[in-house]
Amino acid sequence: MTIPSETAAHPETLRRVVIDPVSRVEGHGKVTLLLDADNRIQQARLHIVEFRGFEKFVQGRPYWEVPVLVQRLCGICPVSHHLAASKAMDMIVGATELTPTADKMRRLLHYGQILQSHALHFFYLSSPDLLFGFDAEVARRNVVAVAAAYPELAKQGVLLRKYGQEVIRVTSGKRVHGSCAVPGGVNKHLTADERDYLLADIDQTVDWSRAAVALIKKMYSERKDFHNGFGYFQSAYLGLIRADGALDFYHGGLRARNAHGEILFDHVDYATYWDHIFEVTKPWSYMKFPYLRALGPEEGWYRVGPLARINNCDFMTTPLADAERIAFREFDHGSATHANLAYHWTRMIEMLHAAEGIRDLLRDPDLLKNDLVVTGERALRGVGVIEAPRGTLIHHYRINEDEQIVRANLIVSTTHNNEAMNEAVRQVALQYLDGAEVTEPLLNHIEVAIRAYDPCLSCATHALGQMPLEVELIDAAGHQVDVLRRDADGTVSHGPATDG
């Protein structure tokens, strides 16, 4: 996969379009489009200020604190970090195999996280775009408008999200800042009352999840060519895979496929991830750019997350979700399998899988047993990998003889998808920007491309005082030509750029 428009031969001669969701604290995103003298896209770069201070933050802390500490990294996906760190600490305490209760409690927690995160994304972020179209006025492209037009859908979205949060609360003991996993296992099992409480709503949750898949499939199909072609490109894919080829969010080996679907490596022990994945830096971004060593830095970038997982696995272990996986793969002779907007479709298939997985687990008596923790021979290094809602999440720690963290390396889903998001923005810009004017429809389309991946901002942005989007047009001489800004209340105005 060559990237012809990422680096222009003579960037000093280009005009620059900056699209900047303004935030005065770290964690904001920005899109820079470099135009040539003919107003054609030469470069497109999505800037996300990745938070890497955490790796310093944990140094010197005792290893057993880490699964709790990492929950402060992101308030949207604390469970993912909690579980990935716990798996790394399992290695450090020598817990090569958890008890059935510990393994299943963690899986239940993880399913809850997948369910609530995917519900949030679909009902809050992507469904307005898909229901009303990308060019609809801002007043319509939001969850409130979805609720007005589809009140039952809005209710289901809120309650699906709520159910996932309840699974997390019951499993981890608290609504926020709870903990379930500890090095070598878990600190609680489920009580019969807790199990029955969650069982009461699980059939409804499965039904609503199934309806969500049907809805996204219908919406996607109705504008098939448009949805397939939106910012289209092909890529390799990476993710965890179970030993028998099943999709597994919690544990497995690493599998990578190239853009043609051929397996590059399979069932790789994730504790040796660096033998297969390498990270490079680029001068214009705070984020690293991982690539598959087998393909090299130019060709080796890849995608992770729902689309990658559905493309990567051989089957899913729950029947309703697996039937939907097959339908997706066969849709229009496979035309959607590389589409950016297919992330929304596959996300809903995974939500259904999580709901079915919760139902299966709640019927498992192992959840009620009290054999919670194992230990073994101590090690000084631990690697934990899970499939988080947005994709593969790697936590890697090294400790000293005093059991303090001396080194940490995290590769989060958004980092894996870094180059792919750039490519999505680049393709959309190539399709929709003629360079003559910064328009609101252009911003809408770029937002839609970003939303497909829902990059994690580490919760560093702050809701209050934040302006979602700003576009700055700068000519080749560095002069500001135009600024288009969408304020928090949705109004669009031209004016001087703010200091982001």
Partner: protein, 162 residues
Amino acid sequence: MTRLVVLAWGNPSRGDDALGPEFLRCVERLVPAVPHEVELVTDFQLQPEHATDLVGRDLALFVDASVVVPVPFGFDAVVPARDPTFTSHAMSPGAVLAACAEAFAQPPPPGFLLAIRGERFVLGDPISAAGRRNLRDAVEFYRQLLSDISMQAWRAATRNKP
């Protein structure tokens, strides 16, 4: 008896982003002048499921740190409203009110936002000295709000629109 819910959010490990959760910790022992039902809810971020916390309430108070409100805090009514955004990482109080209205087919409770001025949001940092001072003033203000928990009284108390 007025049923009040106080929703405060933020990351306790990100400097002044902890102002919301810390506010809740400071006020948990305060009791209204006359008997009222007050529930305190804290989280990392406002999200759609918080609409369920608004059901059956007469009044809602949202509390968060802000980087734009004047020192020491702002207090104003919240209007149910849309939330244009490119990310799932945050939701505004107005959008939560609106989601409540539409998802549960009933008017949301009147909402108010207490926005406490924050200065530093670095992971691992404690609340800044300035943030602490602003928090102290906000807690004292909340104490006054408890003397009359009603929409009319709170409307009269608005200041420094967040």
